[in-house]
């Protein structure tokens, strides 16, 4: 890291942030109650982010053999030199900083778990089958990581963590499926059997579903589908997305964007948080950022560049992503404030409507307006007279995300961590009751 930093500084670059991640991960995938493949990855990846006079460049190097850092630095500087003047000049956060240890994000046992992943898969399969599933598919993954950051502005620090998670999908019939998730940084908080019970139980109850009917419904969203929507909300609360013109929160800072019952924050330092880390990729300490408080949009996630542009405070959210922008503001652990209700109270509050457990394939018609649709996946149930009723199928939520946020009527006390294939950011969310949600179906 020092070599890269020196090479860039020698070439006259004002701001340099070098990060290095060493990770080891293992994954067991299973389907039809049987393991299909076991994966193991071992990676060492440096990333470099440069800025001078508002011009920026970035590089990700997953290549050790024959890499000449001098020539990479030189190529990056050349690429900056041909960029016309940037729109805003900025500096990286001035260090040094004190990075406090975060409790509960490293468990040595997870670095040695190895064949334990097969045990976890087996536990999930068995519990889902006991609940009534015929077939069980899923993925269990564990990993450990160490992350180092060194910047030209005097920031230097590191963080390390472990994680383990399982997604279980149970099939009780062709159309009767359910999903369960357990995600943790610590082996004691990891419960693959409970994930199997949840998946198997939803699948069993979803048997015999009839085609749903389009219309407007009071909907109780389960944690998995609500986490997906919250992820989209956090994307839109990134200053970078706002600048791209792809946010439904453009020009809404300080304004009411949701029901006052809804509050959302990102917390990169949460003890036991699956996404927690001590410092961001610009070397700034991570922290808690209130995005929406009692319905009001309080702030955007920022990097040094966007903060200079928006004249805002840093949020410790800089993450190297490469691709379009190099360094972007992105969430670590999304936390939805819980409500005061039990799940049954939400059903009672809905009186007549739908309970949707999961979804996939969310797509926007227009990112600025927030018009979107997403497909209901796994168990969907009618709510009749305030109680769970028959399963239904073939439904799609077709609505506007701001309208959904503004129509939140109640949230449960109990929350669940969600992260899976469709929800990349760890999200802690309750069940949520939303009024008058648009539901559509397909013509056959």
């Amino acid at each position: 890291m020092n070599r890269i930093l020196s090479a860039c500084k020698k070439l006259g670059v004002r701001s340099v942030a070098v990060a290095f991640t060493r990770s080891r991960d293992q994954m067991v995938r299973f389907s039809n109650n049987s393991v299909t493949v076991v994966n193991s990855w071992q990676n060492e990846v440096p990333t470099v982010y440069l800025a001078s006079n508002g011009k920026r460049a970035a590089c990700r190097i997953e290549e050790e053999e024959g890499v000449e850092f001098k020539s990479i630095a030189s190529e990056l500087v050349d690429s900056m030199n041909v960029i016309p003047q940037g729109d805003v000049d900025f500096d990286l956060p001035r260090g040094p900083f004190n990075y406090e240890k975060i409790d509960g994000i490293y468990d040595r046992r997870l670095t040695e778990i190895d064949t334990g992943l097969v045990d976890a898969a087996e536990a999930a399969i068995n519990s889902a089958r006991k609940e009534g599933a015929n077939r069980v598919s899923g993925v269990v993954i564990s990993g450990s990581w160490e992350h180092f950051v060194l910047t030209s502005a005097g920031a230097e620090g590191s963080s390390k963590g472990t994680e383990i998670e399982i997604t279980v999908r149970a099939f009780a019939d062709e159309d009767a499926t359910g999903q369960g998730i357990s995600i943790a940084t610590n082996l004691d908080r990891f419960h693959p059997d409970e994930a199997g019970v949840t998946a198997g139980s939803i699948a069993r109850k979803a048997r015999g579903a009839l085609a749903g009917v389009p219309g407007k419904y009071n909907v109780v969203f389960g944690p998995a589908i609500f986490a997906d929507l919250v992820d989209r909300v956090a994307d839109s609360a990134s200053a970078y997305t706002v600048d791209l013109g792809l946010s439904f929160f453009q020009d809404l800072l300080g304004k009411r964007v949701s029901s006052e019952k809804f509050s959302l924050c990102d917390n990169g330092r949460l003890p036991f948080g699956p996404g927690s880390i001590s410092l961001d990729d610009e070397g700034f300490p991570t922290g808690e950022t209130h995005l929406i408080t009692k319905g009001t949009l309080e702030g955007y996630l920022q990097t040094s560049y966007t903060a200079a542009k928006h004249k805002a405070q840093l949020t410790g959210s800089a993450q190297f992503e490469g691709g379009l922008a190099g360094m972007v503001p992105a969430p670590r652990n999304l936390i939805v404030e819980p409500g005061e209700r039990e799940f049954d109270d939400l059903l009672d509050g809905a009186m007549s409507g739908l309970y949707i457990t999961n979804n996939w394939y969310t797509r926007f018609q227009n990112y600025q307006t927030g018009d979107f649709s997403t497909i209901c996946r796994d168990g969907v149930f009618e709510i009749k007279d305030g109680k769970l009723g028959k399963p239904v199928k073939g439904l799609r939520v077709s609505d506007n995300i701001i309208r959904i946020l503004q129509s939140i009527d109640a949230l449960s006390k109990k929350r669940q961590w969600i992260r899976w294939w469709e929800v990349p950011t760890p999200t802690l969310t309750p069940h949520v009751l939303v009024r008058d949600v648009g539901i559509t179906t397909a013509s056959s």
């Binding site: 460049a57 990479i72 041909v82 960029i83 013109g245 227009n366 600025q368 294939w421 179906t441």
Partner: protein
């Protein structure tokens, strides 16, 4: 890449020594650049360099995969041993052992054409291209306000060296280049409208020169203006629908290509990308009208999904997935081919050294028919021509799908008329293919990045086809 012959040999030898029955090792180097203009301001030029080895083994019917980007001999050996060890550990929870269908072994070198080496084109020249598009999007030129303009130029050179324990040794080279843009049009009192477009090929810089991207972007921007100013609600009765090439292409990809991936049919993607409405016994079953023939072909010259050998060393060939409305083939790798008792049709693809090969599409399109667009429209009394789309999705069995039209026009008495806003086609797969009564003759392709796998692998593909006509359907919006 010759240098990595030794590393792949070492990986194969070590895995065999450790007890593997079958081994393949793939060294892959990717070097890419992404240049972005955001409302005329340059985002950072990002460079990506990846080089490593992925090793896949079968031991006692259990499949293991390990990868590393540390190419020291000791680390390659450790990774090979790891692949075998983790596969062995899973044997007790395997009820359906992995087997591979027999295949011929190949020794070959292949490469896609690149007349102008992308690496020899300066960053300045690449930015010049983006700035010329940006200039073409000025209000004076396109007559519509575009408050957001995102232009992305992406290139990547991929070199692979593949070797397996059955004697295959393959060296491949693929240059890919793409231009992606998102434009937001705005008109006072009419709101905003957004358009995404993706031009992409397996070629060198010459592709960019031929696309004439400024003209494409100009046309798209002016279209946004038309839709905003003049668009009205679509008719709500049962009508006929003419779908443009872009819409035909996404339909072929989503509701033919994906459900006919044999790994989904076997349930292998059950917890992530999902399964399929197509079952093992549906080969030979009618799913659409006789006008519907859909092909997936990795060998199309210059196509974004081009390859000559897949990542299991099988020689690529076209696959006819639906022929005259009947399900006629599936996309197979060697593992699913063994399960179905057929040969692989070379659909195994991996996007990087650290990703296992999965069944993927390449370039999926509907076979052209005989009609011009005018002929498709001329006997439609009341309908909509949906030329392009913005929002789309489909359920995880690939049965219930939705496409929201972006550029769309009413059809009245055989003629294309006024713009209509956001017509919605929400239909089942047989409901859609069964209603196709005429197919156009001009095929066009769009670039796309197809997501599948865990961790996600975004594969370069083309989606394409001619305009098609479907009869008597309810359109929402």
């Amino acid at each position: 890449m010759e240098i990595l012959e030794d590393e792949t040999r070492l990986a194969v030898e070590q895995a065999l020594k450790s007890g593997a029955e079958y081994v393949e090792a793939r060294a892959q180097r990717d070097v890419g650049h992404t240049l972005t203009l955001n409302n005329g301001v340059a985002e950072p030029v990002t460079t990506t360099r990846r080089l490593g080895v992925g090793i896949r083994v079968i031991v006692d019917g259990s499949m293991g995969f390990a990868s590393t980007n540390n190419l020291e001999s000791s680390q390659i050996r450790t990774s090979a041993e790891t692949a075998v060890r983790i596969a062995k550990a899973a044997v007790r929870l395997i009820s359906a052992p992995s087997k591979l269908a027999p295949e011929r072994s190949w020794e070959d070198k292949w490469e896609a054409r690149m007349k102008i080496d992308i690496q020899q084109v300066s960053i300045k020249e690449k930015f010049d291209e983006l700035f010329s598009i940006e200039r073409a999007l000025s209000f004076d030129h396109v007559k519509v306000s575009l408050p957001s303009r995102i232009l992305v130029l992406d290139d990547e050179l991929t070199e692979k060296f593949y070797r397996n324990s059955e004697g295959s040794k393959l060296q491949g080279f693929v240059p890919r280049i793409s231009l992606f843009f998102i434009l937001t049009g705005e008109e006072k009192g009419k709101g905003t409208i957004q358009r995404m477009r993706h031009e992409a090929q397996t070629r060198g810089w010459e592709a960019v020169k031929e696309w004439n991207a400024s003209a494409i972007a100009t046309d798209e921007a002016m279209m946004l203006g038309r839709m905003l100013r003049d668009g009205v609600h679509p008719p709500r009765d049962e009508i006929d629908l003419v779908l443009g090439s872009e819409v035909t292409g996404i339909i072929c990809h989503e509701s033919c290509g994906h459900p006919q991936e044999a790994d989904r049919i076997l349930g292998r993607e059950g917890a992530q990308a999902g399964e399929s409405y197509v079952k093992r016994d549906m080969l030979g079953k009618r799913i659409g009208s006789e006008h519907v023939t859909i092909i997936d072909d990795p060998t199309l010259p210059d196509s974004y999904g081009f390859y000559q050998y897949d990542d299991e060393g099988v020689k690529a060939r076209p696959r006819t997935l639906i022929k005259d409305g009947v399900i006629s083939d599936l996309l197979h790798n060697r593992e699913t081919a063994a399960e179905f008792g057929v040969s692989s049709n070379a659909a195994a693809r991996s996007v990087a050294y650290d990703r296992e090969p999965l069944i993927r599409m390449a370039n999926t399109y509907m076979k052209p028919g005989e009609y011009t667009l005018d002929e498709l429209v001329e006997d439609v009394k009341s309908g909509v021509y949906m030329k392009s789309f913005m929002e789309w999705n489909i359920d995880d069995r690939r049965y219930n799908q939705r496409y929201v039209g972006l550029e769309a026009y009413a059809i009245r008495k055989g003629e294309i008329g006024a713009p209509v806003r956001n017509p919605i086609l929400e239909v089942t797969t047989p409901g859609l293919y069964g209603r196709v009564d005429a197919v156009g003759k001009l095929v066009e392709y769009s670039g796309a990045t197809c997501g599948k796998g865990d961790p996600q692998q975004g594969a370069a593909v083309w989606t394409g086809g001619p305009p098609i006509r479907i009869r008597k359907i309810h359109v929402g919006g």
